[in-house]
Assembly symmetry: C2
Homo-oligomer: 319 residues x 2
Amino acid sequence: METFPITFDDVRFAAENLAGVAHRTPIHSSRSLDARSGCRVFLKCEQFQRGGAFKFRGAYNAISRLSAEERARGIVAFSSGNHAQGVALAARILGVPAVICMPDDAPGVKLAATREYGAEVLIYTRTAVDREQFARAVAEERGLTIIPPYDHPHIIAGQGTAALELLTDQPDLDALVCPIGGGGLIAGCAVAAKGLKPDIRIFGVETEGADDVRQSLRAGKRVSISPPTTIADGIRTTAPGRLTFPIIQQYVEDVLLVSDEQVVETMRYLLLRLKLLVEPTGAVALAAMMAGALPADCRRVGVLLSGGNIDPALLAKLW
Amino acid sequence: METFPITFDDVRFAAENLAGVAHRTPIHSSRSLDARSGCRVFLKCEQFQRGGAFKFRGAYNAISRLSAEERARGIVAFSSGNHAQGVALAARILGVPAVICMPDDAPGVKLAATREYGAEVLIYTRTAVDREQFARAVAEERGLTIIPPYDHPHIIAGQGTAALELLTDQPDLDALVCPIGGGGLIAGCAVAAKGLKPDIRIFGVETEGADDVRQSLRAGKRVSISPPTTIADGIRTTAPGRLTFPIIQQYVEDVLLVSDEQVVETMRYLLLRLKLLVEPTGAVALAAMMAGALPADCRRVGVLLSGGNIDPALLAKLW
């Protein structure tokens, strides 16, 4: 039997590690939102985290835990999204050389942002190469340490600090709602939230067609799906992680589904009414709430807005 | 000789009045912004104020100070913008009937938001009717009290609470930068800031062509200009207020000018990098900072982001 991937103490340790480096992100609330949703909603605003998403938390925690020798040799990560920027920024702060492998169809703004943080970007042809194999070959050739996007104890523990902060500021929550991609954020947040408040209810949210975790939970084992086409690019994963899944099984009560249309409507609402910019994945958890998908007895609900790194071209198309 | 329109105590009294009703808006800072501007910048985020702009502060303070009889009869305001929403929301909270006179070319979203707050909206033909005369006629006919957009001691004192909060949270500021429309915000903020820190330097910002206050300061008296066409609709006033101008003369070191293009560039930067949505007027003060218009020895600068009520059609055109 495997041991459980991380404990509450790992999250607390990560929080000490991140103190003074990561932002303690603000929690926004709104009377208009409360009236619309029928409960008290607390939005944990990770779009205001360094790098524009929660990813910096895990990346910094993981890189800072490497040995001096590993840090001197450098790290490599594969991502076309927020993990790339989180790793690049954390590596720069820690003075660690970073290589980021990105697909040839990654948006120009993400390439530019990753390079701006000082990382070397290696482009691979998405249709021709498996990204993990590509990164592994680069790592081996150059002696670099791979920083995976979610399936690593230090990554999971780092992401959990978002919920640690939220529950410290708002201890009376009944429920926590969180988007699920590979599961790093919800797994870490579940460990943190259950550690502080054992009776809190944890809900994950995926978009329709990107429901690998929901299917896996129902099947009782990790299920793989075809690459989904949802607007929420952060949850286009095809299977939950090997380490994140047992945590999700233990702690997550249910995985709710929302449509891309509900995600877009929620992004519009957040931006025009609450003046909060989120990327599609960042709106997924609130979309489930606003669709009334949560059990009616959840009265005080924490909602993770996971990030705000939106492609300007998409932003222009929202109206 | 006239007495000075408001004192620091008026702002403190307004703050007590607003406690628990207005939001204490957050202050955002950013390493990227500090690096770009070469100083420490503290953004006072009034887009997160109730009603989406600082206007709620003054409106609530003014309406709450009316007599029971005046409140029972109701109030009237003329505005196509944030003052309308601030007044409508404050009136609803205080249970005061509100009439808002809006021009026939006001954006549909602003009409809808004002009605949503429960106000009666009276439409007048902008080209045919003077809005002040129209409001005065309505007030007289129905026995309503006019809540003016800026030229009233309780309005000015209410707006000043934004700077009171900023300087309380960040007492070590060298300078405060603030957009100027009719002057209510900068006048109130100047009184508050100078009251807390007499050596703080106050700068106003207007857009090119909307420089009535800059011209007035140079002329030593209130100067009227033709209606300006700037993108920053909150500063399309043609002259400073009778009450706000002497405060500006006493406390404001200089009025800086920015172009509409600089405003748009700053809005894009705020949204994409800092994930902060502001309307054009909300970006004006930061635009001056980023253009390097501030004296070089201002090292710790407070910047008022005045509001975030942007027309979705304009938002779509920013990219």
